[in-house]
Amino acid sequence: MAMHTIELTLPGVFYQRPAPDQPPFKSPGDPVVAGETIGLVEVMKSFLSIEANCDGIFGRYLLADQSDVDAGDAACEIEV
């Protein structure tokens, strides 16, 4: 098993959840399929989906919900 991280390409505000009153996109242990949304980045009033680029098992978020993030930050870990 190797640990894979997903890196952001744009700065902004990171969201673990699709909406404030909903659960996070992924919880530790959830299966992940490439192309699935694992988070959102709000940049210049647009919300961009952050998609998994591999299949695996979700490890954990590396960025807090609603935190300020930079391009290059690792958003989460996926076991592949």
Binding site: L10, P11, G12, V13, V43, M44, K45, S46, L48, D68
Partner: protein, 457 residues
């Protein structure tokens, strides 16, 4: 009372614009900033800078309590809200005035009444301003639909009374289509919304967006002619002009007079804009809503009238009666504004925040560039993508288009992706040059005709 210290409750290019107008009147300026905006141009130009809170707008520029606290701390006697953020928040305007500070804009009750679209439409009707024609309430049966449709004129939209968001809308081009579509629409509305009620509205094909600029002092109102803003993407304007070159002269006068009637009916104070749809086929205009603030595209009006709208807003807020009579305001030549956004049109308008290394601003006669940026400025990811507005004036529309193309060639912003190249292409597009555009034109133009097909093969 004359304003001595002005609090600028906005950011970016409009904050710079407001500071410049204030300084020209000898007014001291206090610029409100979020933690991410300490280095913006407006903060460098202002006499004083006061921090509101963290970067996200909801915790700074949109945080009423934070703005009011900063306002009290700095002792300003007036506040300019700019556009967006709290500019059309009636409760905020009320709180500002309650704290003894002048709100540079209309009275809070005007913001409230025009913000309620149904109420604004009712005010328009009362003032004799046309709104999009429709059936009187629900249509009860096919016969009623036929008679209402012939009164409104085809094509008509059939809408579900309980619907919303564009769902369940059908367009009938003649009586035969209406006869076919009404029963379908009724059963679908019943199934979809639990209510089969329908109503009709005129379908405005190839609608054009036209708006009228007004200035009022709470008693009298004048208009500063109209703008056309039909080039839009996702309902966001990207290119604006003054005047609207397609409008026949008599209709233009009627349009501007209707705007004055409505603004006068609400005893409008400050700068405001009345938005209309123009139906070229019916040769008719219809009021849609009023914006009770300064607008992004105000410079095209300034270029053709020579009136400094922000200066007039500040003077009116300071208690000076309107300084222009209607007959003193003339429209000369043609102006075009294009919005330079930090977005990549080649990648679906993907936002492109980051540091501006190169910023070369065009010069020469009839050219203006309003921006909140400078070389070395970091465009933050937290707010809208507007970097600047390139505005040109020419003696007529072809002159302005030539000047625009030339200025766009001179304008360099890098290394961020911007909309400069898209505007250069637009300035050469046949439909834009001939003025044959509607509010849906730009999105069609941006969509390649055979998108996806070659990939599938």
């Amino acid at each position: 009372m004359t304003i001595r210290t002005l609090f600028v409750a906005n950011r970016g290019e409009i904050a710079v614009r407001i500071i410049r107008a204030a300084q020209e009147l000898g007014i001291r300026t206090v610029q409100a900033v979020s933690a991410a905006d300490q280095d913006m141009l407006a903060a460098r130009l202002a006499d004083e800078v006061i921090e509101l809170g963290p970067a996200p707008a909801r915790r700074s520029y949109l945080d009423t309590a934070a703005v009011l606290a900063a306002l009290r701390r700095c002792g300003a006697d007036a506040l300019h809200p700019g556009y967006g953020f709290l500019s059309e928040n009636a409760d905020f305007a009320e709180a500002v005035e309650a704290s003894g500070v002048v709100f540079v804009g209309p009275r809070p009750e005007t913001i409230r009444s025009m913000g309620d679209k149904a109420h604004a439409r009712a005010c328009a009707v009362a003032a004799g301003v046309p709104i999009v024609p429709g059936s009187q309430g629900r249509i009860e049966d096919v016969d009623a639909a036929l008679s209402e449709a012939s009164r409104i004129g085809y094509p008509v939209m059939i809408k579900a009374a309980a619907g919303g968001g564009g769902r369940g809308i059908r367009v009938a081009r003649d009586a035969d289509e209406l006869l076919k579509l009404v029963p379908q629409a009724a059963s679908e509305a019943l199934a979809g919304f639990g209510d089969g009620g329908l109503y009709l509205e005129a379908f405005i094909e190839d609608a054009r967006h036209i708006e009228v600029q007004v200035l009022g002092d709470g008693t009298s109102v004048v208009h500063l002619f109209e703008r056309e803003c039909s080039l839009q993407r996702r309902r966001q304007k990207v290119w604006e002009e003054a005047p609207a070159s397609l409008l026949p002269g008599d209709l233009r006068e009627e349009l501007c007079k209707s705007a004055v009637r409505l603004a006068q009916a609400v005893r409008y104070r400050g700068a405001g804009t009345l938005e209309y749809l123009y139906d070229r086929r019916r040769q008719a205009f219809y009021f849609i809503e009023m914006n009770t603030r300064i607008q992004v595209e105000h410079p095209v009006t300034e270029m053709v009238t020579g009136v400094d709208l922000i200066r007039e807003m500040l003077l009116i807020a300071g208690g000076v009666p309107l300084r222009h009579r209607q007959e003193d305001i003339h429209c000369r030549g043609h102006a075009i504004e294009v919005r330079i956004n930090a977005e990549d049109p080649a990648r679906g308008f993907l936002p492109s925040p980051g540091r501006i290394e190169e910023l070369a601003v065009p010069g020469g006669p009839g050219v203006r560039f309003d921006t909140g940026a400078y070389p070395g400025y970091q465009v933050p990811p937290y707010y809208d993508s507007l970097i600047g507005k390139l505005v040109v004036w020419g003696e007529d529309r072809p002159h302005a288009l030539g000047r625009l193309a030339r200025s766009l060639d001179e304008l360099r912003i890098g290394p961020l992706a911007t909309t400069i190249a898209m505007h250069s292409e637009l300035a050469l597009a046949d439909d834009v040059r001939s003025g044959e555009v509607s509010t849906s034109w730009l999105e069609r133009w941006l969509t390649p005709p055979s998108a996806g097909r070659s990939d599938a093969a």
